[in-house]
């Protein structure tokens, strides 16, 4: 199971957190409606290094930013 470090509470299992993607709409996309649609439904879903946000729902209820490799689930500095 994945473990994440909350800056306030310490190392906790991923079950305590809620995931949030940082939407990465491609820069080539300019039409506001297309951008909204992309943010709503479409995903980069990167196989590799990602930066993401997690909400520590079961603890301090604050957000943390995590760098992770989605191929191995290892946490990056």
């Amino acid at each position: 199971m994945l473990f994440l470090t909350c800056l306030h509470c310490g190392l906790r299992s991923v079950e305590e957190f809620r995931y949030a993607e940082i939407p990465t709409v491609p820069e080539t996309m300019t039409d506001p409606q297309a951008i909204d649609l992309d943010r709503g439904f479409f995903r980069t879903n990167r196989e590799g290094e990602v930066t993401e946000r997690w909400f520590h729902e079961f603890g301090c209820r604050r957000w943390i930013t995590v760098r992770r490799d989605t191929r191995s689930d290892s946490i990056l500095k």
Partner: protein, 147 residues
């Protein structure tokens, strides 16, 4: 309003009790200061304690009033929490069996996380301890811990 959690030592079956305190949302520096000015716990001695939920968020127990230096602080009575009081030994035992995180060595300490699938905060002061959860989950917590 005197906000002191129960100091009754548990018999064999601890029960959930309402916990009334002050919820203080303020800048972290003023909360650090507040922790410094209040007498050192344990609350079992009937004195104040600052439970730091987050850098800018705390629940203060055992105080008649709370004054912080942050002029924009929000200080409100908060009765949304319940606690189960128990010996530290018992609390450590529950953490060992129902949580995926270790109890920190420092005392006094507030540790937060998932215990038996519920969101809890455990306060350990080397003597008395309490497991705190949001009021709606009190009975559920009691059942799950089988206390």
């Amino acid at each position: 309003m005197l906000l002191i959690p129960s100091t009754t030592l548990p018999a064999s079956a601890p029960v959930v009790e309402g916990l009334a305190g002050w919820r203080v949302v303020a800048d972290p520096a003023s909360l650090d200061e507040l922790s410094g000015t209040l007498p050192v716990p344990p609350p079992s001695a009937g004195r104040g304690v600052v439970l730091r939920f987050a850098p800018d968020d705390a629940l203060v127990l055992g105080e008649n009033e709370v004054v912080v230096t942050d002029p924009h602080a929000i200080v409100e009575p908060d009765t949304g929490w319940v606690s189960i009081q128990m010996t530290e030994e018992h609390a450590l035992d529950l953490i060992a069996t129902h949580a995926l995180w270790p109890a920190p060595p420092e005392r006094p300490v507030l540790v937060q996380g998932m215990l038996a699938g519920l969101s809890v905060k455990v306060y350990l002061d080397g003597n008395q301890s309490m497991i705190i959860t949001a009021a709606p989950f009190g009975l559920e917590l009691e059942e799950r811990l089988g206390t």
